[in-house]
């Protein structure tokens, strides 16, 4: 059986990399800021998968779970501030399209 399907370390790393690339594709291909935001969340999650997979193959390292907790807290901060910025932008310009908000001044 291929190591990608049997639950070996390679399979987890492959899933993490593909998840990151799908998140990157979402940021590159979609124009709605909220969709791009979801892509960024997906990339953060991919990093978490790789981190905890390596921790498992180090014998269940507890430090990785602490690191994961910190990443989750940073992601929550990022979500709150990012969504507040999107709401503020929508209030000022009436759009959430990244192409239409390419200028800094009104």
């Amino acid at each position: 059986m291929s190591p990608l399907l049997s639950g070996a370390l390679q399979g987890y790393i492959a899933v993490a990399l593909l998840l990151f690339i799908i998140g990157l594709a979402t940021v590159l291909l979609r124009r709605t800021l909220l969709m791009q935001f979801m892509g960024v969340e997906l990339m953060l999650n991919a990093a978490n998968v790789a981190l905890l997979a390596f921790a498992r193959w180090r014998g269940g390292d507890v430090e990785a779970t602490i690191f994961y907790l910190m990443i989750i807290a940073v992601a929550a901060c990022e979500a709150a501030v990012g969504l507040a910025l999107v709401i503020g932008l929508h209030r000022m310009r009436g759009t959430t399209d990244a192409d239409r908000t390419a200028t800094l001044k009104q």
């Binding site: 399907l5 909220l34 992601a75 501030v81 969504l83 507040a84 709401i87």
Partner: protein, 163 residues
């Protein structure tokens, strides 16, 4: 079992990328997050799996869906102008990166050695996490709490009407 959860994760992510409706894309992202939680449980880390569902699928994603419904922007707006070169370049870049990633993972001798030399993993318990968190990383916990508070204050300030 690993293949099932990996499939759920990647399928949810691809569906999110292709979905036209932003709310449906958010729900597909929830599917992907639940798949990731399943992967964490398979890695012998149920603490991270529970946190993934509670914080990501439960809090962050619901916040995103809330904002989508608040702004009433369910569909992507029509493009201001077509940018075919950028779009095709993005598709080519991501396809290249994906193929390269799989090839690299399959051919990596380091990953193979790490996989072969695996020690039996100690299952993660909340007790172990809590002990390490509040003995070795107490300062980090305080700092992260302060940062969460600052982020919440910043978010409230940013959405205030008279800025």
């Amino acid at each position: 079992m690993f293949a099932v959860f990996a499939l759920i994760t990647l399928l949810g992510a691809v569906l999110m990328l292709l979905q036209k409706n932003v709310i449906q894309a958010g729900l597909c992202l929830a599917l992907s997050f639940i798949g990731v939680a399943g992967l964490f449980v398979l890695l012998g880390n149920p603490v991270a799996g529970a946190l993934q569902i509670i914080v990501y699928a439960g809090a962050i994603l619901i916040l995103v869906l809330f904002v989508i419904m608040l702004l009433n922007h369910h569909e992507e707006e029509a493009a201001e102008k077509a940018r075919p070169v950028q779009r095709w370049a993005s598709v080519a870049l991501t396809a290249l990166l994906g193929a390269g990633a799989i090839a690299l993972v399959l051919s990596s001798p380091g990953l193979k050695a790490l996989n072969a030399g695996a020690t039996a993993a100690v299952p993660m318990t909340l007790e172990r996490v809590g002990e390490t968190l509040f003995s070795d990383h107490l300062l980090a916990v305080e700092a992260i709490g302060l940062m969460l508070l600052a982020a919440m204050v910043a978010a409230v300030t940013l959405v205030k009407k008279e800025l």
